[in-house]
Symmetry: D2
Subunit: 301 residues, 4 copies
């Protein structure tokens, strides 16, 4: 089913209380918020979801809560871990809970394509026949996969149903991936959606990214598939200053959570330690950008 | 003088002919183009200027030609090189030719702050009293410098007159640099200008970056220092889709050169091998974005 | 107590069956083997112990079995993990089981000393007052710590009782650490013991490393502290060809496990996938080197 | 001719005076020393030769002097540089001076095998038909090349006549390279010779490395090709403690230069800044190890 994924898959935040505890009640409100703003599916426990700061039991609790709340929409769970045994265990647990699949990025430290292929052979030998999203995010993983390497992985492992593409430039890589492909898989794009309308023109099936205003991501997708290309870009461009502002790695996630809090989607904007904290200057900048966005959207209508 | 730098310092391209030879005639037309579009100074032989692909004699020829043509405006020359003897030689040559100063980024492979400090001690011991731009561009150099480390370097080495800041997030780092500073130096920002109006609000003295439309960079600067903050952002936002499109590392440089060619600033858009080549799809996308920009600017007026 | 550690702390292997399952019976025989060959303590779940390939429950099972079998000798447990919550959970579990302390190396991706200090502040805030071995192994962790940085960490965190030093050159770093130290901690050295007698002369308290012949490591230590420096070196030099042979990262571990199997310490030499497999050529080389070692030792006596 | 290289190719030091100037007179004495101690050829301007600290003119001066003095023996010149134009210029200059070939390692920052192949295609397109040593030294270059990748490069580029192998474990990689090869090239091994006798057994044609006692490297080679395998190892093992001591990256080079000075091969042991300086403790250790070596050799005879 994941190979037919289309539309917005929101990369979901993990809500914490001010003391750093998981805030499961906010998982519910945030999940509702995502679905109300056009999500076709969710991806939980990604890098932007602070997955690396959770214990294994916390990971399972968060994933389970999202799955429970998602009204039957597919929930993909990030299970990347340097240790294959941990990938296997977490995969088994979340598939039992009803996940639609898992997302895996190669670990830091794979040095050649031989090692890359060896890693995924070992992973799939361990996890078995589980629908898998291959994440191509080299700036985070430290492992670069060329187009031929990705196509080789797709060919060798039928478990790979979807590619999350977030290398840069994504657009030229997407074109090469689509031109070179054998078996067709879904491609959704990350990079916080920074190139979404152009990526749609290059043949992707939608965004898989987070944003404080997911209605823009789903809106651009909807306009684009109705062939309203200029309107899709018009909508996108209004949000681009804020989107770019949130596209500043972990600090950008802090901004996103603060805006989600202001919009009532979560109770508390805190990131777990070690993570950035916003200053009064940052807050003033956020307000400035939100005011400009409001004005700009009112002109659009 | 560099410590009083203000306004737009354009990161200049190096023009090549189709066969890969340096095109010095296009250096002249491009230099004129930059100055006509609001440049207060130039920075030549940076990463975006394909400095790494030039021989030493070519580097000197390009730098000399820019200096000659710049109508007395300051020209800063990138001299970064893993070898300190090469830094010293190139520095001596370009200072003789009339450069306003040199720009240096730490080489890949410095592993601790001790090694960072040792490297710059050795560099300044070799090059002597030359006005220097310290470039903080970790995504290219592979060496991260914390705010305390940068301030220590500035304190130890009076040759450092200007910081080119292009870590991310730049905005929070600029605030910390300004709050922590002893001796005041100029700070200009890179990252292709992606956060220019906000960076101005954080206390920088202008952009040091390249763009196919440098009039935007100088325009935003001019509006900002007249306290026309909203108008500065309005202007910036119109160009942001194209700016973001060019902000895709070496591929973005290929786009920039193509647009500079279309605007008559250079004769040929070629990048030297190994470098990206634009496809028909890429060209169509560029035209699409330029058309949208034209429409958007006409609405602004 | 760890700050008074002395002698050989063996970096213990994790024994697997041919099918990749943990072989707990071999943990017992291997633990006995280490103690019979001069171990003062054990370090389990290190890089050479294939810790990264174990699930959390497997890690706890292996650590617990070693602790149970160690006849009251201190057992240090490696708990390094990119996620602090996982460090905290595993630490709590193994301390409950009777571990003497935990060993932590900074994760890959710390880019400045500010981030290094921030990481350990967060770790110690989470794990509380647990005796800790700081592991300085940059070739594995990707994070280089300068001598001043290590001394700062020791000063800030009284939990750090012991340093496992395995940067290169270790000898000059040890001298600088001992000269600069405030509070005295124990220093044991890794790098598979490749520089043990010289490191003893520089002021360390013994080796913390693995070897198929731990009697050499303990023997060199014993001779050295009796001021039999030449004899310590004589003993060391006889084993050096084999030691160097085992000092070839994960492939060297495969060799070590094979020799431990031949010596009856474990039932099966297998490493868990993905890991190297020895070829007939490798086996012949091992036999050649063991024969030479036997002859060389018989001459020594 | 390089494809038939056999025996010891010494990786030559670059001698400096105390003030950091090139000491060309010591190039002569050092070159004589190498030839008297069994060198079949020389490799100059490698990493251990401090190539990265020389200006281009200094590089040419050093290479030229070695070529002039080498009594017709082949001199290979390291020309690795991140910039291909600089590789081309230096190659042309040293080939004019009579070099037997050039040595090239891929630059830091090649991220996929596509980029690796693209880099060498561009290099060979620029330098033309020049006999080339491909250096596989990932710990220095940061670029890992798998066995299939190396074989592909050899197949595509007839200019590659010799491989300098210094990945680890070298022995298993050599076996795979020899088993998989099409066109036969010479393989000489680096890693300071740490695994020389075993590498000979795996099919290499000799060492390409530096050592304060090159007579060991040539001696082991000579014994080995006479099938005196045990004697080759006996000789090797005597020197192994010192060899291992010098095998500590740039600090080991400082040791090597000091011993070469003591042996009368160069006038001054200085390394160029930034480089390590030996302390009195280091000097005492060197003396200790040299005394032990002398005794050990006297027993051998």
């Amino acid at each position: 089913m994941l190979e037919h994924a289309k539309g917005l898959y929101v990369v979901a935040q993990t809500p914490f209380a001010a003391d750093g505890a998981i805030d499961l009640a906010s998982v519910d409100t945030l999940c509702d918020f995502y679905l109300q703003h056009g999500a076709s599916g969710l991806t939980v426990l990604g890098v932007a979801g602070e997955a690396g700061k959770l214990s294994q039991e916390e990971s399972i609790a968060v994933a389970g809560r999202y799955i429970q709340r998602a009204q039957g929409k597919p929930v993909i769970v990030g299970v990347s871990n340097p240790g294959i045994a941990q990938v296997r265990d977490l995969t088994a647990r979340v598939m039992d809970l009803g996940a639609a699949g898992v997302m895996i990025t190669p670990p830091n430290g794979l040095r050649t394509e031989e090692e890359l292929f060896g890693y995924f052979a070992a992973v799939f030998q361990q996890i078995g026949d589980v629908p898998t999203v291959l994440q191509d995010f080299p700036f985070s993983s430290g492992t670069w996969m060329s187009v031929p390497s990705i196509l080789t992985l797709v060919e060798r492992h039928p478990q790979i149903r979807l590619l999350k593409e977030e290398d840069l430039p994504s657009i030229t890589k997407i074109t090469r991936l689509r031109e070179g492909q054998g078996r067709r898989i879904a491609i959704l794009t990350g990079n916080n959606g920074m190139f979404l309308p152009l990526e749609m023109g290059r043949g992707v099936d939608g965004p898989m990214s987070g944003f404080s205003h997911p209605e823009m991501l789903s809106g651009v997708y909807d306009l684009y598939i109705q062939s309203k290309v200029e309107q899709a870009n018009d909508l996108f461009d209004r949000y681009l200053p804020l989107l770019s502002y949130e596209n500043q790695s972990q600090w950008g996630v802090a901004v996103r959570k603060e805006i989600l809090r202001q919009r009532g989607a979560i109770s508390c904007a805190a990131m777990r330690t070690p993570g950035p904290r916003l200053t009064p200057t940052d807050h003033a900048e956020i307000e400035f950008l939100l005011n400009r966005l409001r004005r700009s959207l009112s002109e659009l209508r």
